[in-house]
Amino acid sequence: MNPSFSANPITDLNELLQYPFMVNALAAATIVALVGALIGWFVVLRRESFVCHTLSVMSFPGASGAALAGLPLASGYFAFALAGALAIAFGSRAGARRSLSHESAVVGSVGAAALALGFLFLSLYGGVLESVETLLFGSSVGITVGQVRTLAVVGLLAATALAAIGRPLFYASIDEQAARADGVPVRALAIAFLVLLGLAVAAIAQIVGVLLTFALLVAPAATAQQLTSRIGLSLALAVALALVEAWAALTLSYFTNLSLGFYVTSIALALYAIARAARELRR
């Protein structure tokens, strides 16, 4: 395979789509971008970026633990993300009267424990697990149709659940006191959102790796919120930015043979920087 970039979009697209692995990668990236951006929008609103990062780190002990136990890797991802979400939810009393310093201490401890466990499992396992680098940064090759299907199902479930709790979650996220007084179940929503985030992150991390999950979830939403304060437009923009980031990164990575992760993060960072600068200039 010797990819060549012709600058003719039709030819280039045809070249991309003749490989099944590329089709799978594009399908996976599309689902990840759609669902991740919507959930990420609430992550930014709730200032839970650190939590989001920590939950994606749970994938590391998840994958290595599953390998050690001889179980399918996916089961490890989901189990550990769920455990992490619940540990954070109950350890920091999420949605109770919040103490941010306490919360970040709990989240940091969970993250550190996850890394330590991951390395422990890996050394006990001793066999050949997909390389740590792939675990952390993902890989555009080797995504199976089965993985894309799993991702689609989890993505659909997560998006549906998010839509069901969307408005009260928004209320509780932005105006906790008033929401609580209005009878919104603030704590139950906080826990539900963490679980939802954990499941989505587990599904996404299997495809794009532990570190890039964060870039695809949080960066597009943060960029969109810099650009507009209209809720609907902001959500749509977050999805659009995530799609652009994912597609552009995959395409560039294919034609230049450089790491997918490099492109995802640098495009995300560049867009955020531009949006931020544009906002500063307008004031």
Partner: protein, 268 residues
């Protein structure tokens, strides 16, 4: 006219400590009521009782003819000390909308819900107009000044057309002109729309022109009456159980001298 709020021999406790007890109170429809008293005397606790968030440890309470918490849709509430910093990228108008629809499950989708959405929008526009917040309602709320944010939050409390409006220290952290204009705004809603307004404040002076009734919490008890009955040297000294003096300045402002802070309990 039946009482909008009625308390009979009511008491509230946080754990073992009694916050206040033996409180008897009737607030009539359309009254403008100031809730005063030192820190920790149980002013916010009083609002929490009216909202049904906190149960009485003794006595009884009725709000709008029902048990507290049952007529929540008829109560507008402004919690204490809220502000949005610059990172909050949501329009003031959307914050106001939460007062009307924030508790509904689901997510509004674009292009759906036509007539209801138009009604909601018209209602929000009317309230924004009424509180004078139209000019900045489409800006991110984090970029609005303290006074502007307070008006938007009052609009949020008013948007459901409440019969009872509970404002917890709406004047705190505002400068004097904004204190005066927010007080006048609350009084106007009371007079023009017949809303019973219960406003918690530290300083009675910005409210003096409008108050029908004062509820003064101190020393684990409460006294209610007109400002002229309650804010006097004799009444407040008896309430505090200590020598307190009320002085009237030449401009009509009242100064309460020597009031001890209540550190035995903490409000929230």
């Amino acid at each position: 006219m039946s009482a909008v709020v009625a308390l009979r021999d009511a008491a509230v406790a946080h754990g073992e400590a009694t916050v206040w007890s033996g409180v008897d109170l009737d607030l009539a429809a359309g009254e403008f009521v100031g809730v005063l008293g030192p820190n920790g005397a149980g002013k916010s606790t009083f609002l929490a009782v009216l909202l049904g968030l906190l149960r009485l440890s003794a006595g009884s309470a009725s709000v709008l003819g029902a048990a507290p918490g049952e007529r929540r849709e008829l109560i507008g509430y402004l919690p204490q000390r809220r502000s949005f910093d610059e990172s909050v990228r949501v329009r003031g108008r959307d914050i106001v909308a939460l007062g009307l629809e924030g508790t509904r499950w689901g997510t509004p989708l674009p292009l759906l819900g036509g007539r209801r959405r138009a009604e909601v929008r018209a209602r929000i526009d009317a309230v924004l107009e009424d509180v004078g917040a139209v000019a900045y309602a489409d800006r991110p709320i984090g970029e609005c000044s303290g006074g502007e944010q307070q008006r938007l939050l009052i609009a949020q409390a008013l948007v459901r057309s409440p019969a009872l409006l509970l404002l917890d220290e709406p004047l705190e952290s505002l400068d004097l002109p904004n204190q005066a204009s927010v007080s006048a705004l609350a009084a106007r809603f009371c007079r023009e729309h017949g809303i019973t307004v219960v406003l918690v404040a530290h300083d009675v002076n910005p409210l003096l022109p409008y108050l029908d009734r004062v509820v003064y919490f101190a020393g684990g008890r409460a006294v209610a009456g007109t400002p002229g009955q309650v804010i006097t040297t004799a009444t407040l000294s008896a309430l505090y159980g200590a020598g307190v003096e009320v002085l009237a300045r030449s401009d009509g402002r009242l100064v309460v001298v020597g009031q001890p802070d209540m550190h035995t309990h903490h409000g929230h």
